[in-house]
């Protein structure tokens, strides 16, 4: 009888330890593998800007938005399409313009034949071309964490 109780106690102790170890292991594994977070009531797929720089529990960084402005779309085929390369930290993206045109130097007649005095500029239409300096757009921005509810 005494021996049977002893076996039961040992079995109970072993089962308890196994439950505790396995339980801790599964909880840790669950957290590490992205255990379902509490339902905060935000719909799946929602993209929100969140102050503080960190996405809330249960939300993840939306990489599509990093360094980009978001433009609204209402047709499914337009969703997720991107234009341009993302901005860096507080980057004021610059741009430039090519230009070309002409300067016309109208003639002024002189009573003389062509000769060796080259002090005067030839009457002609001169092409000019170049590129402007690069400048920013002057637009005001605010960089803030973009998060999506999976």
């Amino acid at each position: 009888m005494r021996e049977r109780r002893s076996v039961e106690r040992r079995w109970a102790a072993a089962t308890g330890i196994a439950a505790l170890v396995l339980g801790i292991g599964f909880v840790a594994a669950g957290r590490a593998s992205g255990e379902t977070p509490p339902d905060d009531g935000a719909p799946s797929g929602m993209v929100a800007f969140v102050a503080g720089g960190v996405c809330p529990p249960g939300w993840v960084t939306v990489y599509d938005v990093e360094g980009r402005v978001v433009v609204g779309a209402i047709y499914p085929e337009d969703v997720g399409l991107e234009v341009g390369t993302p901005l860096g930290d507080r980057e004021e993206r610059k741009h430039e313009h090519a230009y070309s045109g002409e300067v016309t130097l109208v003639a002024k007649n002189v009573a003389g034949s062509n000769g060796g005095n080259h002090s005067g500029a030839a009457a002609a239409t001169y092409p000019l071309a170049g590129t402007t300096t690069k400048v920013g757009s002057g637009l005001p921005f605010y960089q803030i964490a973009g998060c999506v509810k999976p």
């Binding site: 039961e8 109970a12 396995l22 599964f26 379902t36 509490p38 905060d40 009531g41 935000a42 797929g45 929602m46 993209v47 969140v50 102050a51 503080g52 720089g53 809330p56 938005v65 990093e66 402005v69 433009v71 609204g72 779309a73 209402i74 047709y75 337009d78 969703v79 991107e82 234009v83 993302p86 901005l87 930290d89 993206r93 741009h95 313009h97 230009y99 002409e102 300067v103 003639a107 002024k108 002189v110 003389g112 062509n114 080259h118 002090s119 005067g120 500029a121 009457a123 002609a124 001169y126 590129t131 920013g136 757009s137 002057g138 921005f141 605010y142 960089q143 803030i144 973009g146 998060c147």
Partner: protein, 280 residues
Amino acid sequence: MKTRKTLASLLLCSLVGCLDTQGSGTGGPIVTNPNPDPDPDPQEPLRGDALPTGAVSFFKKLACPEGWKAYEPAAGRTLVAASETFPRGEAVGEPLASLEERMHSHALAVTVELPAVSYVGAPGGGNAGVGKAGPVEFATTSAPASAEIPYVQLLACLKTAEPVPRATPLPPRMLMFFDLKECPSGWKPAEGTAGRLLVGLPKYAPADRPFGGDPFTSPALRSHAHAFASTLETPSHGIGLASGCCGDGYAKDDTYTFAAATEPSEVDVPMLALLQCEKE
């Protein structure tokens, strides 16, 4: 025996997770509805979401969720937090077409003064090889270019259904646009973002930082100008006359460098101003 059953159930619970009241097995918190269905189906998950009616949000989805509808005023536009001087509902610019890079160009105009030389001879006659001194104008329009503001297109939706709050509230500090006059209960006006284009935080960058120009204080587009410089190098035209009195007013052969600024031009980033609120 009782001890054995208890410990066995503890082991089982550790392995499979304890069932919650909805039988989902997630062990998650109990979802509560402030306006409970008088005849609820315990197997049916709670429908609807916690966002207030009138919320306007972007979605990384192909269709708006249940209780939301496509928000056409935001199509082809970015949303900007409204202010007293840039009131909600104000739309700026024409909407972008899908993947459109909105271009702009600048007018350029500059006058170059060419100094005079003179010949020992009389003006007039039949030789038209030399140019006239004085101002010459260079006027053109630049090639169009984009301001290169990178963007991503996301689905814009308006919440039409009543909110269905959960036991766990929406995250504090999340910003949301609203097609409303005032922030809903539990939300306060967003600070620091008014009149600024929101950009997703670049990797490793500090959060919540304004940059670029001053915030929009009116629905007017923002304009900018560029500097430009060029060189006019004239070839000479030889005349068989000595330099001197009194045939003057002929342009001097030289290299002329000039610099100026383009006319200002607007960068047309189409916007819609809406009330923006922060979850308390």
